[in-house]
């Protein structure tokens, strides 16, 4: 398990790679929190694209970062959640925190961009995300024979 962290001003993206369980959650938590605190981050993206497994330790990790960003008056976004990860997060009710499935590109845009111009692009991004979901081989084996 590892995490790649990029910081640009108050934006931070943490790309998680590998398996998230109790054994490695603390290391991830420390690395992310350290980046958030030293970089004075207010917008944190956790990217799950390269996460191959997650149990409820991952839920703890997300809830803890959600609390941290709330305390700092910032926001947390979870991106590239699919298949098994989505199932585990949904059953923990993380979708009710309304922080799931935000497109990564949103963070890259200049913050001052008018909201009206954003809308169509955002819809396109949402569509593309659905396509990406379909590419992931979860649930394919078996049902379609």
């Amino acid at each position: 398990m590892s995490v790649q962290i990029e910081i640009a001003e108050e934006y931070c993206i943490a790309r998680l790679i590998g398996e998230i369980d109790h054994h490695n959650a603390k290391e991830l938590r420390d690395a992310i929190d350290n980046a958030v605190m030293t970089g004075q981050v207010r917008e944190l993206d956790l990217d799950f694209r390269e996460v191959s497994f997650m149990d409820s330790s991952g839920i703890g990790l997300v809830m803890g970062r959600y609390k941290l960003m709330q305390e700092l008056g910032g926001n947390l976004h979870l991106i590239n959640i699919a298949g098994h990860l989505k199932k585990v997060m949904m059953l923990a009710g993380l979708d009710r925190l309304a922080i799931l499935d935000r497109p990564e590109q949103r963070r890259r845009r200049p913050p001052a961009e008018p909201v009206l111009e954003e809308a169509p692009e955002e819809m396109q991004e949402a569509g593309r995300f659905e396509e990406e979901l379909e590419d992931i081989p979860f649930g394919i084996g078996g049902e379609e024979v």
């Binding site: 369980d21 054994h23 149990d55 703890g60 059953l91 923990a92 078996g142």
Partner: protein, 145 residues
């Protein structure tokens, strides 16, 4: 019903073995040719049960975790995860979602909730000072059903 195949596994309750144990159980279950999703469900439930042994059962010492698994002719798998640790004084409470006896570890308190929603059946037997056995059951669908 007599099992068609069984296995036993025992290992030291070190957190690095969480990954080892769920992968070993998944490899054993693989002979039923489960879907990727079924396998992910089983790995997750085993990971929760083993983490409970390490974090709660053996909270202040290193102990041995015991796993046994049986495959039945009706494509049912039964997995027992056992520790000889401190035991659970109040099982009902321990199984409540969001309850955790170690809030400082940033655990979500969702271990049992995750096991219950991913498995067909979860049974917990515990005796204070003697240990805890969690029995997980799940039917693997026949491909093409």
């Amino acid at each position: 019903m007599k099992p068609v195949n069984t296995m036993k596994l025992q290992f030291e309750g070190r957190s690095v073995n969480e990954s080892f144990s769920r992968t070993a159980v998944a490899a054993f279950v693989a002979q039923l040719d489960p879907t990727v999703e079924e396998l992910a469900d089983i790995k997750t439930a085993v990971s929760e049960a083993v983490t409970n042994c390490i974090v709660h059962g053996y909270r202040d010492r290193l102990g041995i975790v015991y796993i046994s698994a049986s495959l039945y002719p009706d494509r049912r798998i039964q997995i027992k995860v056992r520790d000889k640790g401190c035991g659970i004084p109040d099982i009902q409470r321990a199984m409540e979602p969001m309850y955790t006896s170690v809030p400082e570890e940033e655990r979500a308190g969702l271990g049992f909730a995750v096991m219950q929603s991913l498995m067909d059946r979860v049974k917990v037997i515990s005796k204070e000072g003697k240990g805890t056995t969690v029995t997980l059951e799940r039917s693997i669908r026949c491909k093409g059903e």
